[in-house]
Structure formats: C-alpha cells, structure tokens
Amino acid sequence: MKKVHISTTINGDEVDFLCEPTQTLLDVLRDELHMTGTKEGCGTGDCGACSVTLDGTLVCSCLVLGAEVGDKSIETIEGMAQGEELHPLQQKFIDHVALQCGICTPGLLVASKKLLERNPDPSEEEIRYWLAGNLCRCTGYQKIVEAVADAAQEMRSA
C-alpha cells in the first residue's frame, strides 16, 4: 500500500512520518514514531486508553487516521511532564494510588488534564462523567476521582 507523507507537531516538536492511508493516529504514534505511551485497549473508541488531544480537542487516537493529522498540534502523555517535573495530575495519581496495572493511566491523565483546562473546579460527579470514556478495570475509579480532585485543588491554589 502506498504511503502518504505527513508533517505535523507532536508535543511541540515538528514531526514527519509516512503512513498507510488506513493507519490510525494511534498506529502512527506507536508503530511509526515509537511513542508507545499511548495505549491501545480496544481500537474502537470505547476504552479511552489511546486518548490524546488534537488541536486541543480530546480524541481517541484510534478513531483518527494518521493521514488527517497534517499541520495539527497533537499532545500525548509523553508531553505531560516538564523534564523531571511531573504534572500535578501525574504526581497526585501516584500519591493517591490511582493506578494499579497502569495501562489505562496515560489515557486517563490526558483526559483529566483536558478536564481541568475546561473546568478547574470540577465536582465529583463532573469528574466521573468526564472520565466515563476512560475504562479502568483495576481501581474501581475511586482513587482516580480523588486524585483528580486533589490535583485540581492544588492547581487552583498554585
């Protein structure tokens, strides 16, 4: 299958890649660019493990084609920490034991970050409904909700 050439921006870096027209953004990130922090749990947009932002919009990267992301700005889990300094959400996830196996964690962090950008002071219910697109099978969600609320509070007072 003939590949297409795409130029785009990922986590602030200019990136060029070749992809098959059928490859998803998730395939491109993981298989072509070896950015494996974004996970595949279903490939059908149901689990949220592949969450990234595309020009600021939260998307499942398995539902976006690689060929359609030219000249966009993509943010992934790899861009979340600033050097050695973890994002407050990352730190709070650790502090609250909001992750066990961790496979859903990158997607949940990307989704939570977007939530706090839109709503810096979400209620428990707002956190639960915003994260309803991100499946976690280990934690029962409680410690995730607590971590997001705690991070929100810290970020508001920062």
Partner: protein
Amino acid sequence: MAPKPGSFSTSIPYEEKKLKIVGTEPADRPDAVDKVTGRARYAADYNLPGQLIGKVLRSPHAHARVLSIDTAAAEAVPGVKAVVTRDDFPDMAVEHAASGELMINFKDVTRNMMAREKVFYDGHPVAAVAAVSESAAKKALKLIKVEYEVLPHVIDVEAAMQSDAPILHEDQFTKGVDPTPEKPSNIATRIESKLGDIEAGFDQADLVIEREFRTKPVHQGYIEPQASIANYTDGGQVEVWTSTQGHFVFRAQIAKLLQLDMSKITVTAAELGGGFGGKNNVYLEPLAVVLSRKSRRPVKMVMTRDEVFRATGPTSGTHTKVKIGVTKDGRITAGQAELNYQSGAFAGSSVPMAAITVFTRYDIENVLVVGHDVTCNRPKVAAYRAPGAPMIAFGVESVLDELAEGVGMDPVSFRLKNAAREGTQTHYGPKLGPIGFVETLESAQAHPHMQEKLGPNQGRGVATGFWFTLGKETSATLNVGEDGTVNVIMGTVDVTGGGRSALAMVVAEELGIPTEKVRVKSGDTTALGFNFMTAGSRGTAAGSMATVKASRDAIQKACEVAARIWEVETEEVVWEDGHARPASTNVGDFEPLSLADLARRAGALGGTIAGHAELDVAMGGPGFGTHIVDVEVDRQTGAVKVLRYTLVQDAGKAVYPKFIEGQFQGGAVQGIGMALNEEYIYSEKGTLENPGFLDYRVPVASDVPFINTEIVEVPNPMHPYGIRGIGEVPIIPPIAALSNAIYHATGVRLRDHPLSPPKVLAALDEAAPAIAAE
C-alpha cells in the same frame, strides 16, 4: 481437584512483633513514575529489529469439522514470510498440569491455541500468518481457504447437559460417575463433597428453601489485550516477551507444546496491563515462536479487543441449585448445592474451586455439594478473580437472605449466628484455623452505613465471601550491592503494580533499612528457580515468604562478615535495626556495623552478601469478607443505581494499606459490573454478538459510588507477618449483595444474572399483580 498441602512445603509461623515499615505507606512505588509518564513497557510496547507482524485466522463457526486448510494463496502474498496451521504443531497426549487456579490438559491446550480436527467456538484459531506489515498479514488471512463441515452446536450449560445435546468431544465420558458411562457426554466430570448426613440435616430444619440460579459468562476485561513478541534465534534460543501472570509456567507450556528444552527458552514478563486470571494461559506465545522459527525473524502478535472477547477467558456461565434448612431460632442444619459450570470448548472449569467455597463461611454439620464441569461451544474458560465463587455465592447468599427473613432475623445477625470460626469443619476437608470472618460481620454490623436511612424504592443487601490463599513454588534472590542498597529479584509477576512495593517493604523490615534502599524487579525465567503464576491471591502472601527467607539468608551472611571482622563466631553476632551487633557484652565491645559497612567489606571477607529462597510455600490463611450495599431501583426502566457500598475484609496483615483499599475497591467494582451489566450474548448461530466494550459494558466512573473499605487484621498463623491473600475475595459478594438489596427495595427476588434493566423490569412486571394482591 483441590490443592493439597505438600509434605515439604514451607510455612513460617506468625511472629508477633512491632513492625516499623510493613503496614505503612512506602516512600515510593518503583513502577509508578514510568506508568504515569507512559514509559512503562507493556508487551505490545516491545519491538525488535526486523520484526514481523503475526495475525490469527479464526473460526467463524461455533462447531465444525476442519476438512482442509489451503494456505498457498496466502503464502504467495508479497511480504508474507510464514503461515502456520495445525500441521506445524505436534499433537499432545492427555497430560494434566496446574495453570493458575484451574487445571489444564496439554491435549486440549494445543487444540485451543490452534484447532486440529474441529473448531469448537467462534474465534477458535485455525491458522496464523507472519508478514512484514499488518496489512500484508491481514490480506493473507483472507486468502487462506478453510473447508468446514458445520456441526450442530450448543452454547447453554443446561442444554449441553441434556443427553441429546450436540457432543463436542466424542471421546469424553463423564468422570466421577461409577460405572463410567458408555455414551460420550458434554459433562466432563462430576464431583461431590459431603459432610454429615444431609437428609438428617434437612429433617432437623423448620424451614427449608430451595432455589435455582443462572449466571452468564463474563470476561476479565483487562484493558491490555494479549500481546507477545517471540524471537527464535538461528542458534535455537527462544526469547519471548509477553503479557502473562506467570512467565515460568508459560515457559513450561511453550517447552511442552513445541517439544523444546526449557533451558533454551527465556520468557520475560512485560509490565502487565491487567490479568485477573485471564492471563494464566498461553494463546499467542507458541504461535509466535513457531512463526519466528519458520520465518527466521522476530514475530510480534497483538490481539484485537474482538479477539480477546471471542477467544480468551471468559469465566463460566452457570446453572446452580441451592437448598438450605434452618431451625426456628436461625441455626442452619443442612446445606445442599448443585453447581453446573460451563468450561467452554475443553474440560476444566473453575467448578472444583467453586465447590470448595459454597458453604465455607458457615458452620454447617450436614452438607452435600455436587458439581459438573460441562463443555459447550464457547471459548475455553479461564480463571477470573476467585474463579467460580461469585456465581455460587449469588445462590447461597440469596437463599440465606430469604431464610433470615423467614426466621425473623436481620441478615448480619443470622450470618453471625452461623459463622465459621477457628476449628469449624469445612465440607471439603480441612478444619479452619484462626480466621477473621466473625470480625468482618461484627464490623459490618457496627458500620455507620447500617444506620443510613433508606427512601422509597431503596434497599440494603448484605453478602459474604471466602477465598483461600494459594502457596506453591516461589523463588527469590536478594543481592546486596557494595553500597548496602539491595536488589531483589522476584519470580512472581506483579499483577497489581503494588506487589513490588509490598515485597520491598517486607525486605526493608527484615533488613532494617529504608524501603527506598530496596529495589524489587521481576526476573526472567533464567534468573530464578521455578515460580508458579500469580494466582490464588498469592502474589504478596507467597512472594513475601520467599523474600523473608532470602532476607534471613542474607542476614546470616552479613553476620558471618561481621564475625570475620571482629574475629568472633557467627553465632556471637545478632542482627538488629539494620546492624550487626555483638550478641552480648561477653562477645566484645564492638561498634555495630551497618549493612552498607558490611557490604563494602564483604568481597574480601568471603564474598558478596546475597540471599536465596526456592520454596514450595504452604497453602493457608484464607480470607473472608462482608459487603453491604444500598441501591435504588428505577421502576420505570429497571435500572439499579448503587447508592453506597461498604466492604469489610480480613487482610491478616495489611502490608500497604492504601493499595489494599484499591484492591478492595477494584474487586468490588468488577463485581458490581458482573452483577448489573456484563454478559456474553450469543446469536442463534453460536457467534458472539457483543465482542467489544461498547456492547459488553464494564462499569465506567459514573456508574459507581465511592466504596467504603475497612481492613480487619486477624493474622495468618502460617506467615511470619500474618499476611493473607486479599485480591480475590472482594469480587465474590457483589452479585448476591446487590440481588438482596434489589429485593429489599422492591420485594422481588432476581435469580437470573445479570441484574440488568431488562431483567429487573421484567421481574417487576411479573411480580406486580402478586404484590398488588398482597
């Protein structure tokens, strides 16, 4: 086949002492930072130079004879480097082995990973391809011509047990029946467990209730699909990185299935993206190894979610009957149960384990439990967190709820009156040691949750659960670096992410050094002696037994080094608070030496300080839990909303309490999902209709409330720290607790799982005239 404690198995008696580290929060979690930054490497994140992509062709039929497979056109696709079918794998004779909590038979394992004579379920592998790209591999799959003779199929467990049901295995004659039947049957095995005189027990009862229950299969639903990468080198070495709960067991299975020496195979357990029992079995690994051997390239295989649902797991669908008798004053006199469990395509369901749990929370003198392991045209079942227990607990705890009401007792007091305690004779064999069941009931009874007011259409349910703590083979190596920091190589897979921390805390406690000076990692299969898989809640319980032994071995060596420095006998040196000290003032006036002091000098005084353990850990220290749930039932839609949930469980000793809370919450939410939403739905043709997370709906964040947790600590007498396994009990009570709560909200008993809106609504509609008449 209940595991029997071996004569040479190891246990260390409980040591009552003040602990400094165990029971606190660790300073850090070695796995956590890499997981939040996306750098933790799961199996699908591994890539090797020159790797190919492997894909599997799967049966579209529930049951069919495979007449021929023609791969010529597929092999001709540009970029295709290897195609394998049944002809590429040796046939296996009947040979049983333990794999997690379930037993496997190699004759079946080879047929499950690649169909031979017949396909037995929708999704059963029939061929596999390795190609330079996924698109080339998929193109090749479409060109493989398989000629099937479609056969009648059977999906449901009760239908499969009928004498005129389509038979999956013509050579399967029911075991456990005397004489062995002459006609083949889908009932692979009948098991029986008895105590006392069941008839006499029912004769003593004033109230006897008998009910039937049905549950649908549910999937473990781990978010990481199975993934493996295999490299068969030109020198005949095999390297495998895979998603597994037991890499040593996988090595043994790969060696057996492909007739290779174990020493030539290295299996590395990648960071695991959830397992819950579903990653106790090989699926892709042998295929990837053979594709790699044939193509002489590394081969990476990753399942799609559709493949995960159609061909891995799930747990058994069940049909159960429960009959229990009580006296007027609420004493249970007899308990009887029949457990009919689907095993899927091949024999070997969780029914032997489930049979152990049926009444093992209560002190009942007269018990009869009969179980049937039933093959049907579904994927071979796998373990799922307390495999088999939630389904029979649904039956038993529902009937107990009815009986409590019948004798005018509240559900907790009724259970307390009949609760198993130390010395209670179980119906499956042993007498129980010190256990914390009564404590969980008392704690539940006293919980503020019990005082919460309930409104219209709201109800409260209570249920309990029991699961054992598996021991089995466990190895660990501890190496003290020259700077006194410690590496621990563990052989069990850290399935939760907290296991490494828990073991580091135990080692730090033993050595008397800070936890952050101890790093625990999982070794590959060449690093240690055999380790059984992380199953049966044994990860921390058995793993810590090995690390305690290895720590004490290292301490002994550290004391030897001190003795050489001081020129005294090793017996004259003791280890206290992370230092070697003279055992008494008679030994001499020596300054204590820290582990770092000793490690620095050890090289020239006999060699590096290290410790080892290669154990068969004794089984023991069962766990018990009590759950309380409040629900509100929407009479218009049948939807059940969980208002509040409280879980009390005996952990023996909570090593890392915050993590245990997470395990409790996660297990309870899996149980809530199992109870209210999850089920496998099959078409008339026997194909799975909901192989995706959209239609197989696991709980999302907005479905569930906070889960209150309370940890009870009644030490396990067979463990130096008193640790019990804790991972599985939390999933057992939810179906029953929710069903009981729905009854108390609506007056309607549900005995058909899942307790989903259509079922609840139908039950409400059916009961409406009867309730109105009252």
